[in-house]
């Protein structure tokens, strides 16, 4: 089929022909077409099915407000449901399919809903489907869910990429119609930093759809000239295909640029869309206006659309919806459509004007004081019935009907910060109110200035006002017709007249909503779903409100206003995510020995944003436990090395450094000697344990503090709070050095021997010279500066050695070579965890934000002699009660039996329920040293229940184990090893 409805002229490139497919059939189009104009050119009026009644639907509009003409665009993983045909820029090979229909668009089984529509009135589902209760999930809901929804997702990952960007400007102009272009010219010539954004791929707005002249040019030519001048200005950035979606606080606007949607396929690495965050000093909204339909019987047939849409298709796209067209209007603009169509050779069946005093025409018949009362045509309009003032009716044979009920200003962005529009009698429409977003002003038809010349002027004036310009540029001549309109919302007596076409909300539904007491605008919307469809009521809200006002016997402003929320038009979720997808969701932090560990075949685990080696399997080891048990045994028997770079490191300096640490730590630091390290317990102000770590005093005025990996950032923030907000006159300086030093724990009886092979001879690290908890600056491997701490997490004789990160890889390799004679092993976080459980060291599982020092058996560390963070509130009654949880060790009576972290502890006899809960298991592991599963737990009065037998229950994992309560220090409770 060739383009039978194609006319002459228009802004399309006839030199090239594009092929596209709709619902499996092939058609042709030209560059400059939208899918909508191309379908009309090929005489395709039926495009989709409505949401509830599955009524046949075509196009209602030619813009982004389209409620009906939605398709599934593209195929496979790139399938894009609910895409408005009116905004799809044609490209060669475009594939689109109809949606919400089965088995086919022309014969849709669920169209039976339409026959039962009387039973499916507004909110009917709230009143039924209640018996029997169980039937809802099993029967009713699945049926409703399948029937509902519109398009479908591919269920495959979106293969395209999206970018985010940030732009700053003096003036953001939203919309490039006459007002926006004139504003941009005014501001641009004055040298301001301007961004001009428009959702269309051709700038110009309505000007591209009109035939009248602006200055000495046709409207589209004038727009093109203005665009040419603007694009030559270095201080002006034009952003076509860019929808400004929301007005956020303090002049920040969200905008989505469709950089790739008009291309058959994306070049590698290029984004499909870019989400821009635009920071504007001032913003000027020139978003134009939207023509609204009139509700009458069967006003939803394919072929019935807004008059301005017909005009746009004819003038801009050189396409008529049908060779024979009728117009139904309540204002003069409808007549402009008729004359434009007539001029293009389209037969005008008649102009039906509700006004007695409608203007006449020599070119076609005008029926004054008449109304369209019904339409016919199964899958598309074939004729309309008109009621004449004398009571007689007349039938007009036509394939399309243009409806004009007046224009609504596009006030959407003025409402995004809860601003309310105000009613304008002359326009019978809402216009922006007083409380606009800060920095925003409005011009053109968006502000109720409907004539072209008025729009040009208001654009220029608004820009001048924003920039304090004294002179206005010369304005071109343009039509300046007054508004001539008689408010008319719906035809009386109609039974099924559509207000919200996509959601199938009729005049009757609105009236029923009132009858049932849902009378506030919000109740109306929620009860009938009016305005809740993908067009968010752009073509229906005001009409619904007008009907509600009439039945309530109130004026429209008394009845209420509808305000709008972002986004202005729907935005792909992918665009909000940008590049933060897949592996790039969060940055990945690698330790200096990561590449070495990878060579060793380490298995890695996420620790916050870090990747840490979890264990290092050797050839032949088939189960992780084998590797972990070996790492633990080798370390305790000889020596092991663990990368602990991820621990937070904070450099604390200043003459008050010690006094400062005395405040942030619950235990004392004032008297810590230079060259010594101390374990530090940090509380939150509410008395719960926040973090633990060590502080090494390198000099009188210099400490190096370590934090847990998880809390590095929050502890640093907390310390800055204490420094700046609580004790501003302390001489303390803080800076993180976490990434600067590669730090390794060297643990085990032979750790000293191993280190002595790399530490330069002038440094004596013997037990006498460098005892437990000693620290100092040293050099290794012939002069590389390093730091050595004699601290132990494993409970063995152990050190932590730190070198500049760039040498971490080399140091680790060296330790492995030098350690061969001691059968050294690298060990990962699992072995680390096993050894700390064997020693009863609390970590994340125990420091869960609800545990106090007392719970963890560290109560004595909280100094009463000083005022430190948390030292007061940790003393609250319930936190020091006799039965508070205490950290204990757990051993299964049968060592083979597994202990489950997350299991709960119950007395051996008595009921098993929450009322008798005694505590829970925080950590569990298999100890290759004790040849037994072991665990740590928090147990009521735990410290007083050593040796007691209890039941560990985990109904979730179907497990019950008899356990014995033991000391949390399973190994070397006296700590002899680490002092060796």
């Amino acid at each position: 089929m060739t383009q039978v409805n194609r006319l002459t002229g228009g802004q399309i490139d006839r030199n090239s022909t594009l092929n596209f497919y709709f619902d499996g059939r092939s058609y042709t189009a030209h560059p400059g077409d939208t899918l909508a104009s191309a379908l009309l050119a090929n005489n395709v009026r039926l495009i989709g099915r409505s949401f509830k009644y599955h009524r046949p639907r075509g196009l209602l509009t030619a813009g982004s407000e389209e409620p009906n003409g939605m398709v599934e665009l593209r195929a496979g993983a790139r399938k894009e449901p609910n895409t408005r045909a009116t905004t799809i820029e044609m490209f060669d090979g475009l594939i689109a399919n109809a949606q919400n229909r089965w088995p086919s668009l022309r014969f849709d089984a669920l169209a039976v809903n339409d026959m039962f529509s009387n039973f499916l009135s507004a909110g009917f589902y709230y009143k039924t489907f209640m018996w029997p209760a169980a039937f809802w999930e099993k029967l009713y809901e699945p049926i409703i869910r399948r029937a509902a929804g519109l398009g479908s997702l591919s269920m495959q990952a979106d293969p395209d990429e999206y970018d985010k960007g940030f732009r700053h400007c003096d003036l953001l102009i939203i919309g490039a119609g006459p007002a926006g272009l004139m504003a941009a010219l005014t501001a641009g010539r004055a040298g301001a930093d301007v961004i001009l954004a428009d959702e269309d791929f051709t700038l110009g707005g309505r000007l591209n759809s009109e035939t009248f002249s602006v200055g000495d040019h046709s409207a589209p030519d004038w727009a093109a000239q203005a665009v040419a001048e603007l694009s030559a200005m270095p201080n002006v950035r034009l952003m076509p295909r860019t929808t400004v979606i929301g007005a956020f606080d303090h002049g920040i606007y969200g905008a989505v640029e469709r950089t790739g949607d008009h291309l058959p396929s994306l070049p590698t690495g290029k984004p499909r869309q870019i989400l821009w965050r635009i920071y504007s000093q001032k913003a000027l909204l020139c978003a134009g206006a939207t023509e609204r339909p009139i509700a009458f019987e069967n006003n939803d047939r394919p072929g019935i659309m807004t008059a301005s849409a017909l005009r746009t298709y004819v003038n801009r796209f050189a396409v008529t919806a049908s060779p024979r067209v009728a117009i139904f209007t309540n204002n003069d603009d409808g007549h402009r459509t008729a004359s434009d169509l007539h001029a293009k050779g389209v037969k005008i069946a008649a102009v039906v004007d509700v006004r007695e005093d409608a203007p006449l025409s020599y070119d076609y018949e005008v029926l004054k004081g008449a109304q369209v009362v019904n339409t016919k045509g199964r899958l598309g309009l074939s004729f309309v019935e008109v009621a004449l003032p004398d009571g007689s009716t007349r039938t007009l044979d036509c394939g399309a009907l243009g409806v004009s009920g007046g224009w609504n200003a596009n006030v959407h962005l003025t409402c995004h910060q809860r601003g309310r529009p105000v009613w304008n009698e002359a326009l019978a429409a809402f216009v922006p109110g007083e409380n606009l977003p800060v920095g925003m002003s409005v011009a053109g038809s968006a502000n109720g200035v409907m004539s072209t010349h008025g729009a040009l002027r208001s654009g220029a004036e608004a820009a001048a006002a924003v920039l304090d310009l004294t002179t206005l540029p010369d304005l071109p001549e343009a039509e300046d017709a007054p508004i001539a309109l008689k408010p008319f919302w719906y035809v009386q007596g109609c039974k099924r007249a559509w207000v919200d076409q996509q959601n199938d909300v009729t005049v009757k539904d609105v009236k029923l909503s009132y009858q049932e007491g849902f009378r506030s605008v919000e109740h109306l919307k929620r009860y009938t779903t009016l305005g809740m469809a993908t067009d968010q009521g752009k073509t229906s809200n005001i009409t619904g409100l007008a009907i509600m006002a009439e039945v309530a016997g109130k004026s429209i402003p008394e009845t209420g206003t509808t305000i709008f929320r972002p986004p202005y038009t729907p935005v792909p979720i992918g665009a909000f995510a940008g590049r933060m997808t897949g592996k790039e969701f969060h940055p990945t932090r690698l330790t200096p020995s990561h590449h070495w560990a990878k060579e060793r075949g380490a298995v890695f685990v996420e620790a916050g944003n870090w990747l840490r080696a979890q264990w290092f399997p050797l050839p032949g080891e088939t189960h992780w436990r084998e590797s972990v048990d070996r790492e633990v045994r080798q370390t305790r028997a000889s020596v092991g090395v663990c990368d602990c770079t991820t621990l937070g490191k904070i450099d604390v300096q200043g003459t008050d450094a010690a006094a400062f640490l005395n405040r942030v730590y619950a235990n004392g630091f004032a008297k810590l000697a230079v060259g010594k390290t101390r374990y530090g317990l940090m509380l939150r102000e509410d008395g719960m344990v926040m973090d633990d770590g060590t502080a090494a005093r390198l000099a009188e005025d210099h400490f190096v503090v370590t934090t847990t990996t998880a809390n590095a950032v929050s502890v640093y923030r907390h310390m800055e709070f204490v420094r700046q907000c609580l004790f501003p006159d302390m001489d303390v300086q803080l800076i993180s050095t976490t990434d600067g030093w590669a730090q390794y724990a060297v643990a085990g009886p032979n750790s000293r021997k191993l280190l002595q092979k790399i530490v330069d001879p002038e440094f004596d690290i013997s037990n006498e010279a460098f005892p437990f908890m000693a620290c100092g600056k040293i050099t290794v491997c012939g002069g590389l500066r390093a730091r050595l701490f004699r601290i132990s997490f494993s409970g063995e004789l152990a050190f932590e050695i730190a070198v500049p990160s760039r040498y971490g890889d080399a140091l680790m390799r060296r330790l492995m070579i030098e350690g061969k004679e001691f059968d050294v092993t690298p060990y990962g976080t699992e072995a680390l965890s096993v050894m700390r459980i064997e020693k009863g060291h609390p970590v994340g599982n125990e420091l869960n934000g609800t545990t106090t020092a007392l719970n963890l058996g560290l109560g004595k560390m909280v100094s009463k002699k000083k005022d430190s963070i948390g030292s007061v509130l940790c003393e609250r009654k319930a936190l020091i009660a006799h039965d508070v949880l205490k950290l204990v060790g757990l051993k299964p009576v049968n060592p083979e039996e597994k202990i489950t972290a997350g299991g709960h502890l119950m007395n051996t006899d008595g009921p098993v329920d929450s009322a008798h809960d005694q505590g829970y298991v925080t950590s569990a592991a298999y100890s290759p040293n004790l040849n037994s599963n072991i665990g740590l737990g928090l147990l009521k009065r735990g410290d007083a229940r050593m040796g007691e037998k209890m039941r560990l229950v985990s109904p979730l994992t179907a497990l019950t184990v008899e356990v014995e309560i033991v000391s949390a220090h399973f190994i070397d409770p006296e700590g002899e090893r680490l002092r060796a």
Binding site: F166, R277, E584, Q653, G654, V780, R806, Y807, A810
Partner: protein
């Protein structure tokens, strides 16, 4: 002299270089870095001492100053001092010797990875990465910013030369983010 071999932040023996369109993106390992934070009540003296170190007045808020040793502002009465790594691997000690007790000095060399962007049209790449108002980031200014959730310093040395300092552990993610944006634009 010790016998350990350094690797770059991206894990290579040699720095990574990528060119896309007019922009060249280079990993720069040959830089030593140290922080200088004035002691309470010593702010004036610290600025003086820092001026002697870099041979120029201590840079003001968000500014860069200096010669072979340069400093950029990193916070209230805080600066970062950068110098070529060769000859300054002990930069912190050198600076500490110079500022004495007027300031706290902390080695930062390997806490950061430095990447340089050279060429025309760098702002087009940066506007996909940073929410800073690049109109304000003129030659000789430095600002902290967040790039794909990674906290960085962005230095504009001149219109065709920018430096990015990011946390060394995140070098890979940062490199990927910048390179992706270069390919997105050019």
């Amino acid at each position: 002299m010790h016998d350990l071999v350094a690797i770059t932040a991206l894990g290579g023996a040699a720095p990574r270089v990528d060119t896309v369109g007019p922009v060249t993106f280079t990993e720069v390992p040959d830089v030593a870095l140290t922080s200088v934070a004035a002691r309470l009540g010593q702010e004036a003296k610290a600025r003086e001492a820092l001026a002697n170190v870099i041979g120029a007045p201590a840079p003001d808020i968000q500014r860069i100053a200096g010669g072979e040793k340069t400093a950029f502002w990193s916070g209230p009465d805080q600066w970062m001092v950068e110098a070529p790594y060769n000859g300054h691997h002990d930069l912190a000690d050198q600076v500490k010797a110079a500022v004495g007790n007027t300031a706290s000095v902390t080695e930062q060399t390997d806490a950061w990875v430095r990447f340089d962007l050279r060429g025309d049209g760098i702002p087009s790449v940066l506007e996909l990465l940073s929410q800073l108002d690049l109109r304000c980031l003129s030659s000789g200014t430095a600002a902290r910013c967040s790039i794909h959730h990674v906290g960085c310093y962005l230095l504009c040395r001149d219109a065709n030369h920018y430096s990015i300092y990011g946390p060394r552990s995140s070098a890979g993610s940062l490199h990927h983010a910048v390179l992706t944006s270069m390919r997105s634009v050019y």
